[in-house]
């Protein structure tokens, strides 16, 4: 696309340019689109060696023992089955599944508990939790209006522990608690799209936002 030798190309600003000729630039999206026409989807592989954590950091929450594992990447996959009330926009998560790379499951029951708790927290992030500000003040400083999911809202949860030991964590362990909070929102968003046909692009996907998206779709029909 740029008619230049690979060693003359530079990767920057979300695209590729020819060194010394900043005008000759194509975005990664353009490259990916072209690749689809010519050779198929772009893919690649790589590796990174995790950097050691500075020894003075991390005397806090987990102490030093867990610290090295914090820089280790962890991967997880989440799936969700939801019910969308198309008259009100209220989304109910019926079932959630989490498969997570945890390094070594030192205490498997504890690991499952963290995955389950994280998922329920993540469902709150996805559907109801947000801080509303007005003139620099928080309008919902309490748990009545900053809506976490409650125990009654927890769906049926399945967990799958994937053990790929970390080189640096204690006994090969990796951080477990935070990843399950993150990806479930994407799974819920995709489930809403699959079931109700609307893509809600703002978090949290509150009933009024889902309702608005459903109405917009009705309007387009």
């Amino acid at each position: 696309m740029l008619e230049a030798a690979p060693q003359d190309l530079a990767l920057s600003n979300g695209g590729v340019s020819v060194r010394g000729v900043p005008d000759r630039f194509v975005t990664l999206a353009e490259i990916a689109t072209r690749a689809m026409d010519l050779t198929g989807p772009l893919w690649g592989r790589g590796a990174v060696e995790t950097l050691p954590m500075p020894s003075e950091a991390g005397a806090g929450c987990a102490g030093r023992a867990m610290l090295p594992a914090f820089t280790e990447p962890t991967f997880c996959t989440h799936a969700a089955r939801v019910r969308v009330d198309t008259e009100t926009g209220v989304v109910t998560v019926l079932e959630a599944v989490s498969a997570q790379e945890v390094g070594c499951a030192i205490n498997p029951v504890g690991v499952e508990g963290q995955m389950e708790g994280g998922l329920v927290h993540g469902i709150g992030n996805a559907l109801t939790e947000h801080t509303v500000f007005q003139d620099g003040m928080t309008l919902n400083p309490g748990f009545l209006d900053y809506k976490l999911m409650t125990a009654s809202d927890a769906p049926a949860i399945k967990t799958a522990i994937v053990e790929t030991p970390s080189a640096v964590g204690p006994f090969g362990g990796r951080g477990v608690g935070e990843p399950p909070v993150i990806a479930i929102a994407g799974a819920i968003g995709n489930a809403i799209r699959a079931g109700a046909g609307v893509h809600v692009t703002r978090m949290p996907m509150t009933p009024d936002r889902v309702y608005e998206a459903l109405r917009e779709r009705e309007g387009r029909r």
Binding site: E87, V90, V132, T150
Partner: protein, 288 residues
């Protein structure tokens, strides 16, 4: 903070204490509004608390020979929710009492406290309004009976005079084939507060037509409101989805919700119709 705390034994004594200590005194029932408001900094605790827990008649729930239910103002939501009489006859009230706050709130929070707090989002207001409940208010030297509609004055404001104690709620009997329901729009399954609520009570004649109907809307106006236009449109009609949709539309028009942290006004407006239709459907099913 120094707070004076009184535990009167009779309604008159409670009223006299309230009168004596003036506007800085407040009656205390379950405290689930009073104390929470103070803790969150919304409203400091009053200088004088008159606790109503030692007045036996305020804790009673009984039906008189005319079938009127006397609900002592200190009766808890949990007691209402589990009362066989309420479950059988005034079902909407059981629906409402069962979803107030959390189990802890329901065990300590009271019917009287819920009403006197005057929130347009209170759960019991809608059902009590459609059941034509009346309130017995006791002052030091007198007492009066007031209809609930006259009691609700504005958000957080009621017709209770500072020296008056709400003694009991009187609920007239229901007759014929009747069914009632309270529905609340819920974003989660517990610890919810009404963003939109609808109460429907219907009565059917022998032919299955709607002989009487009452509708109330919660959290979409300065006070909980009845919707006489929709009630009139339903009376005499045979139930059908078209008839219910028309009533829902009239309810929507009667609502004047606000924008707040819980939901935008436009969304609340649309939900009034949805909740009204669903409440009517369920009430008809229960009457059937």
């Amino acid at each position: 903070v120094n707070i004076q705390f009184f535990e009167p034994q009779t309604l008159q004594e409670a009223a006299r204490l309230l009168q004596h200590h003036g506007p800085d005194a407040r009656p205390l029932a379950g405290g689930t509004d009073l104390v929470v408001q103070a803790r969150t900094g919304k409203k400091p605790l009053p200088a004088t608390l008159v606790h109503l827990g030692r007045i036996p008649e305020m804790n009673a729930m009984a039906m008189d020979e005319d079938g009127v239910l006397h609900l002592g103002a200190r009766v808890s939501h949990a007691e209402v929710e589990q009362s066989p009489a309420v479950l059988e006859r005034w079902t909407a009230m059981a629906d409402a009492a069962a979803i107030v706050g959390s189990p802890a709130t329901r065990h300590i929070g009271t019917v009287g406290g819920n009403l006197c707090n005057g929130s347009p989002a209170m759960e019991l207001g809608g059902p009590l309004l459609v059941f034509d409940a009346r309130l017995r208010l006791v002052a030091p030297e007198s007492e009066r009976i007031l209809g609930l509609a006259e009691f609700f004055v504005g958000p957080g404001a009621t017709a209770r005079a500072p020296e008056e104690v709400l003694a009991e709620v009187l609920i007239p009997p229901l007759t014929g084939r009747s069914g009632s329901v309270y529905l609340r729009l819920e974003f989660r399954k517990a610890m919810e507060i009404a963003v939109v609520g609808a109460t429907a009570a219907v009565q059917l004649d022998e032919a299955g037509a709607i002989s009487d109907c009452r509708l109330a809307l919660t959290a979409v106006a300065p006070v909980i409101i009845r919707v006489p236009e929709a009630e009139a449109a339903l009376r005499g009609q045979r139930p059908s989805e078209d008839v219910l949709a028309e009533a829902g539309e009239l309810a929507r028009a009667a609502a004047s919700p606000i924008d707040d942290v819980r939901a935008p006004a436009a969304y609340r407006h649309d939900m009034v119709k949805v909740l009204t239709v669903r409440a009517l459907r369920k009430a008809l099913e229960r009457a059937g």
